[in-house]
């Protein structure tokens, strides 16, 4: 169950960064906003995911001054990361499609 949560988080993180470069806290806030607070993950667990993506070369990091005035570590989606995002999106669609099929199939059988 935990592994799946991490896998989810990778997809979410990659897709957040597809729009613009963000820093960790910003991503948590944005995630809550977009999903209408459905995703209520433990905030600290985002960081291992981000570092993993960084070490794999899917994102690059740099430090920059945030709108709040303080310097923060920003993440940027690389071209390699864009490819990874597309793959994970496709995998997610297949997975959720399959779940939907099973649910629909189950409902019809009744």
């Amino acid at each position: 169950m935990k592994k799946q949560a991490i896998e989810h988080t990778r997809l979410l993180a990659l897709s957040l960064l597809a729009g613009e470069d963000m820093y960790g806290y910003q991503m948590i806030v944005e995630l809550a906003r977009r999903s209408n607070h459905t995703f209520d993950m433990k905030e600290g667990t985002l960081y291992p995911v981000l570092h993993g993506l960084e070490q794999e070369g899917f994102v690059e990091a740099y430090r920059k001054q945030a709108p709040t005035g303080r310097e923060r570590k920003y993440y940027h989606l690389t071209r390699k990361g864009q490819g990874a995002l597309r793959e994970e999106e496709a995998a997610w669609r297949r997975y959720s499609g399959a779940v939907n099929d099973v649910l629909r199939g189950g409902a019809e059988a009744v």
């Binding site: 960084e54 070490q55 070369g57 690059e60 990091a61 740099y62 430090r63 920059k64 001054q65 310097e71």
Partner: protein, 220 residues
């Protein structure tokens, strides 16, 4: 908008590897030092001797003299060469080399080299090229002239017998490389002789010649 890039392990490693590669390339090409592979030392020796590019027939590990010592038998159309290299503080470096000019027509071309080092058994190599196709058996003899009396007495030290199928084939030519630990050449000096005899299957002697191309190296 101040931006300071942060590097991941991957990026740092890539940069370090590139710098290392550039450093090795520069050292190899400008300073001619820091060879990572022993064959580079042999190529360096080739250039110094003007033999032209040679191909490796056999590589022999000779830890008896130097732990990292390698002996190469290399060849091309004009040259048969025995050379040696070892790993030093400066990278791989050549130890010695005997280029044999094989452009003249001879049934056999050959040479020899002895290596000795204090406190160790010496190594003695005999090498060459067999050009005469009639030769089926080769006998290589190492002996010395004993001048203890007034006449020279021949004393045999070591010999090898080779059949044609024992020869090393390369580029359509046949070579041989022999090694002995029993030739204590230091004791005989210039009285040491190496002769090679080639016979055919019927036992007819095709050629019998002395190999005069060779030398010794002594290391401390």
């Amino acid at each position: 908008m101040k931006k300071t890039k942060m590097s991941s392990r991957r990026r740092r490693t890539l940069r370090r590897v590139l710098i290392a590669a550039a450093a090795v390339l520069l050292a190899n090409r400008i300073f001619w030092v820091g060879f990572l592979f022993p064959i580079q030392a042999i190529r360096h020796y080739e250039e110094r001797q003007g033999t032209g590019r040679t191909a490796v027939v056999r590589r022999d590990w000779a830890p008896e003299i130097f732990k990292t010592g390698l002996v190469y038998l290399t060849e091309n159309k004009n040259v048969t060469m025995l050379s040696g290299a070892r790993l030093t503080l400066y990278g791989w470096m050549e130890n010695f080399g005997v280029p044999l000019d094989c452009t003249e027509e001879e049934p056999i071309h050959g040479g020899w080299w002895g290596m000795s080092r204090q406190g160790r058994d010496p190594l003695f190599y005999v090498f060459g090229r067999v050009d005469d196709p009639r030769i089926d058996l080769l006998t290589v003899q190492v002996w010395y002239e004993d001048w203890a009396g007034f006449k020279a007495v021949r004393r045999d030290i070591f010999s090898w017998g080779l059949e044609r199928e024992d020869l090393l084939e390369k580029d359509g030519r046949s070579y041989f490389l022999l090694k002995s630990r029993s030739v204590k050449f230091g004791e005989y000096g210039s009285n040491l002789r190496t002769t090679v005899t080639g016979v055919d299957l019927a036992g007819n002697v095709i050629t019998k010649m002395e190999l005069d191309g060779g030398g010794f190296s002594s290391y401390s």
